[in-house]
Symmetry: C2
Subunit: 109 residues, 2 copies
């Protein structure tokens, strides 16, 4: 097995959270650490007029978020190899983004 990949689609999240790139950077890095992963580097882009992408390179693979504040939607991936438990990170992200609904897919690769 190459690793554990969690794909989250989040709906009904507040605009102000999905449009706050600093909040999203902290959220990705904190979710990674809570999952037992080690952050190497994070990059991001804030889009005009709204929305953001954050990508965090982990020792164990990566975590990413893309947001559409105008519709309250976000797409999150947590992909880890080794002993990390990305389900913990998923739960943190769902909670912190205050989403009304979420879809969740787990793929062993």
């Amino acid at each position: 097995m190459l690793g554990k990949h969690y794909l989250l689609n989040l709906y009904g999240c507040p605009f102000y959270l999905l449009n706050d790139e600093r909040f999203l950077i902290d959220l990705m890095e904190n979710a990674a650490v809570a999952s037992g992963a080690t952050v190497v580097e994070t990059i991001y882009k804030k889009f005009d007029p709204q929305g953001a992408t954050v990508l965090t390179l982990l020792e164990e693979s990566h975590i990413s978020i893309h947001t559409w504040p105008e519709t309250g939607e976000a797409a999150v991936d947590i992909f880890t190899c080794g002993d990390a438990n990305p389900k913990i990170g998923c739960d943190i992200i769902i909670l912190q983004l205050k989403c009304a609904n979420s879809e969740f897919q787990y793929i062993e690769r």
Copy 2:
């Protein structure tokens, strides 16, 4: 729909390609452009004693590769929103990495 997500698991790739981070950076960026996407920024990490991760932030989401040269394996994600066609990028990556076998999963998010 949030976007098109292609997950590729590649097997039987040559060690020297999977361990060449410069080759992998070019491959990710070229595959993104060929898919009709626009590269914003790429980060990478070369692992010791072998292996690499490359993450490329796109205007349309992201593309990533994680490699395990010791077993000839790699995991690639291409996630795009909008009009990009990531299937083209997948075909380029499979060809350029000279893999013996590949598994392919397409998810509409």
